[in-house]
């Protein structure tokens, strides 16, 4: 009786281990395919002359969330033209951790000073903490270029990043309708 119990327990254990291995293998294949897809998209944007669009589209490690408009183009109608996303008082995106690597976050944009009538403070809040805060230039340029330590991720895989403009009060209006500021580039690269 004991032998039978041991044998059947062993068989169940073997099935579970095999199943776990298969799942791990499946997961590995899925991750490889996803990585190849993102590479393909990067090359596609390059090949199609849509590098500007690539700078403001969601990628493997950047995901644009609420507060950003859909992608817009100047002149409109072609992904190969200058690309940007309108933002309002705040705009939210997610950044993915690259293991223990230090990362460089670069954001570039422009604020419509003729509408805002002042030089707003442009702040970047990374997982709740402000990592950059600068006023717009006289020409309206806004942006930041900061190095982010991996410790800022805490234990998470993704970090919440908010871009904030100090002089926009109409939080309830959609960013494209406001036309107060836009982002033309968000990059997230490993520091060599």
């Amino acid at each position: 009786m004991r032998h039978r119990l041991a044998a059947s327990s062993g068989a169940v254990l073997a099935v579970l281990v095999l199943s776990a291995c298969q799942r791990a293998e499946e997961q590995r294949k899925t991750e490889e395919e996803t990585a190849r897809r993102y590479d393909y998209v990067a090359k596609l944007a390059d090949r199609e002359g849509a590098k500007a669009a690539y700078k403001v589209m969601s990628r493997a490690d950047i995901r644009f969330e609420d507060g950003f408009s859909e992608m817009d183009f100047d002149p409109p109608g072609d992904v190969r033209n200058k690309a940007f996303r309108w933002i309002g008082r705040r705009a939210h995106f997610l950044l993915k951790r690259h293991g223990d690597k230090k990362m460089r976050l670069l954001v570039a944009g422009w604020a419509n000073l003729k509408v805002i009538d002042t030089r707003p403070i442009f702040s970047v809040r990374f997982n709740g903490s402000i990592v950059a805060s600068d006023p717009a230039t006289a020409e309206g340029a806004i942006g930041t270029d900061v190095v982010v330590e991996p410790s800022r991720f805490g234990g998470g895989e993704w970090a919440d990043v908010y871009l904030q403009l100090s002089s926009v009060g109409y939080d309830w209006a959609n960013p494209p309708a406001l036309k107060v500021a836009l982002v033309t580039e968000v990059s997230w690269t490993e520091v060599p």
């Binding site: 499946e26 294949k29 899925t30 395919e33 996803t34 190849r36 897809r37 590479d39 393909y40 998209v41 596609l44 944007a45 199609e48 849509a50 669009a53 690539y54 589209m57 969601s58 995901r63 969330e65 609420d66 859909e70 992608m71 992904v79 997610l94 993704w158």
Partner: protein, 742 residues
């Protein structure tokens, strides 16, 4: 509106009449059908007697059988008449099969709408095993319609006297009361208009229909199965909608593919609304008219031939059947519920949880209420303990679930045969796990945001936010609390769908929700109208028949309806204008006999003739429904990336990997449309834009499609091209050696 006798009283009277009539021999032969099937009633007990009745019966039978002339092999027939008349024959077949269901389930008298819905459900359920063994070809579909029509004739004759009485009563009612006649005339007119409009809308959706849904229907007609291991649309649906569309297409054409969902299913829904009655009361004619207006006067969700009105009809029929079955309380009487729930599951995959819960929940509620009622009078008992008295209720619940599962087994076998899964998305089968449908970075807040925004922005039913809370305040005293159970089932289906498909957007998700959302709203309207009407007429119906609500809740329900009909109607693109434009276009068509329509059909046939018969042919084409699926074993790669048999079609690894995979799977030939020639779905620039700009769903899918199109174009440089015309290319992959071939 007239007060009728309570339904139980009427049923008893009907049964007595039917049972008392003796079975009479016809031509010396007693053709009483077996009592196990039809109950203790002879089908001839109400046979028309007297020359007037027989003449009238002859006329009715003639009218019912006349459309069957189209069951004959095709000959030259007017362009719109053939599908239009055949569509009526299909509707009559639904009624015929529905009559058989009603007899088998022991229902003596059922209104035409419910009978037709039961019949459609039976046809769908029967289609499952036939699909699984691959025999649901054109002649079998024709035979189903013919058998259904014969059953309908039998039903008319078997119920002649009671039907004649009902017809006479209806005639009297309509001619004597303008308040009945006017709404009824308007409803009939809208039904006819919708049917004609569905018939005359000759435009299918190139995005869904042309590349996937219509090829599935064509495959069904040609080879009797819908095995498509590359097709995401096949993977994510059991195929009931395809079977029902196939019934129309056997004598129609691919130009009239909207006939089923927009035409026949809409008529089913009208019939179900018109036949609705609670405690002997029908909703007022004006209320019915408003409900129909609610259905027609909204943004058109029918962007393709997938399930919309068919889902609404099946779910509303399920709701009505559950009420009746719970009142009677026998397992046999609930068989149509199981058929409808199973049928609804096959129409769209996301209907599965709603149908299953819609079937089971009222019985759980009934069981729970019975226990609590018993516990209050007897000694206290443990809350979840199963007592001997519960066994009958539990047995009924388990038996009903078993019947429901049995009805689906055919579709499960067919789905497994095609895509190695019978429960997508829980069991993935041939689905590619790298193509997830949920948002990549889900969070509780984003999930809540999606759930709320879909509820608030649900198109076209934009007043759900008013109607659903008002309906929740209704007090349903009936056994099993069917209205509450149905709302709970729909709510679960809503939340589950939004959770599982969070990559999409509210507009698209609304399409998947339409079937059970519309049915829920119709149920609320019908209950509210019956209840209010009963109160205004001092109904003496037992309270157990009724749903009660405060004046405020009724007011909110009808306000929600009125707001939708009056203020939220489509202004920029009025549907009625599109309907008349479509009719004008369709009647202007003059298609000479013997010519292919549209012209692409000839092109596809020539391409197919260039490939050897019996070969395995993988296709990536704009309109694969022009292909003859019996000539080659065709695999339709409609949405590359989502599904593929075996070890998965390799992507982003070059053309050699694609070629090796296809050859290993036996596909020696591949046909594709060059992206510079594609009419719609496979345009290069279109997908570049969607990949870079669109919602996550398309940003993920786009690269797969572009990569496959790139690879096929590269393969065409190194393999013999057997056919190339207007961008359609046929390659022989077995010849040539891939990228390094000379």
């Amino acid at each position: 509106m007239r007060r009728a006798r309570p339904s139980s009283e009427r049923c008893a009277a009907g049964r007595a009449t039917l049972n008392e009539a003796p079975a009479r021999p016809v031509f010396g032969v007693d053709i009483t059908l077996p009592t196990r099937i039809l109950g203790p009633v002879s089908v001839l007990s109400q046979w028309p007697r007297g020359w007037r009745a027989r003449t009238a019966a002859g006329l009715v039978v003639g009218l019912l059988l006349a459309p069957l002339v189209y069951a004959l092999p095709p000959f030259t027939r007017p362009f719109l008449w053939e599908p239009g008349v055949w569509g009526i024959a299909v509707l009559v077949a639904y009624c015929g099969f529905g009559w058989a269901v009603s007899k088998a389930a022991g229902w003596a008298r059922v209104d035409v709408g419910l009978q037709a819905a039961w019949g459609a459900a039976l046809i769908v359920v029967l289609g499952g095993p036939l699909l699984a063994v691959g025999v649901l070809v054109r002649p079998v579909l024709v035979a189903i319609v013919v058998i259904g029509n014969v059953l309908a004739v039998l039903a008319v004759l078997a119920q002649w006297r009671s039907q004649a009485h009902r017809a006479a009563a209806l005639r009297k009612l309509v001619t004597s009361d303008f308040r009945i006649a006017a709404p009824l005339a308007a409803i009939v007119a809208m039904g006819v208009l919708q049917y004609v409009a569905a018939l005359c809308d000759l435009h299918a959706n190139p995005y869904d229909d042309d590349i996937a849904y219509l090829p599935l229907a064509k495959r069904l007609l040609d080879v009797g199965n819908i095995d498509e291991p590359f097709s995401f649309r096949r993977l994510s649906s059991y195929g009931g909608q395809t079977v029902l569309i196939g019934l129309d297409l056997v004598r129609g054409g691919f130009a009239n593919v909207h006939l089923f969902d927009r035409g026949q299913s809409f008529l089913l829904l009208l019939g179900l609304l018109a036949g609705y009655r609670r405690g002997g009361l029908r909703p007022a004619g004006l209320a019915l008219l408003m409900s129909v207006l609610y259905l027609v006067n909204q943004e058109d969700m029918h962007i393709n031939t997938a399930s919309y009105f068919s889902g609404a009809a099946f779910f509303f029929a399920l709701y009505r059947t559950q009420i009746m079955a719970l009142e009677r309380g026998t397992l046999r009487s609930a068989i149509p519920s199981a058929l409808l729930a199973a049928g609804a599951c096959t129409l769209r995959q996301n209907y599965v949880p709603v149908a299953a819960l819609g079937l089971v929940l009222p019985y759980v509620f009934a069981w729970w209420d019975d226990r609590n009622a018993g516990a209050s009078s007897a000694q206290p008992r443990k809350r979840f303990a199963i007592m001997p008295g519960d066994r009958a209720a539990l047995f009924q619940l388990i038996s009903l679930s078993a019947i429901f599962v049995a009805c689906l087994i055919g579709y499960w076998a067919a789905a497994y045969r095609s895509n190695r899964t019978f429960l997508f998305p829980i069991i993935l089968g041939t689905f590619n796990p790298a193509m997830q449908l949920k948002a990549t970075v889900p969070s509780v807040v984003s999930e809540l945001k999606m759930q709320v925004s879909v509820f608030m922005e649900t198109e076209p039913l934009r007043t759900l936010i008013v109607i659903v809370p008002a309906a929740l305040s209704f007090r349903d005293r009936r056994r099993g609390r069917p209205l509450l159970a149905f709302i709970c089932a729909a709510a679960f289906g809503f939340v589950f769908l939004v959770h599982s498909f969070s990559q999409s957007d509210p507009g698209n998700i609304s399409r998947y929700l339409f079937g059970f959302s519309a049915a829920t709203v119709m149920a609320v309207f019908a209950e509210s109208a019956s209840s209010a009407h009963g109160r205004s007429h001092g109904s003496a119906s037992p309270r157990r028949f009724m749903v009660h609500g405060s004046r405020l809740s009724h007011f909110l329900v009808w306000t929600g309806l009125a707001i939708q009909v009056i203020w939220l109607r489509p202004v920029e693109t009025p549907k009625h204008l599109a309907i008349f434009k479509n009719i004008a276009e369709a009647v202007s068509y003059d298609i000479p006999a013997g010519t292919s329509w549209p012209v692409e059909a000839d092109l596809y046939r020539r391409m197919q003739d260039a490939a050897p018969a019996g070969a395995k042919l993988a296709v990536l084409l704009d309109e694969p429904y022009h292909l003859d699926f019996s000539r080659q074993r065709i695999g339709n790669m409609d949405m590359p990336g989502y599904s593929s048999p075996g070890p998965r079609l390799p992507y982003f690894q070059g053309e050699d990997a694609v070629r090796s995979y296809l050859l290993a799977e036996g596909y020696t030939h591949v046909a594709f449309v060059r992206d510079t020639f594609s009419r719609y779905h496979y345009r290069h620039n279109y997908w570049v834009e969607r990949t870079l700009v669109d919602i996550e769903l398309w940003r993920i899918f786009g690269p797969y499609l572009l990569d496959l199109m790139d690879n096929l174009a590269l393969l065409a440089q190194h393999h013999p091209i057997l056919f190339e015309e207007r961008g359609i290319v046929l390659l022989d992959l077995a010849k040539g050696t891939g990228n390094h071939a000379p």
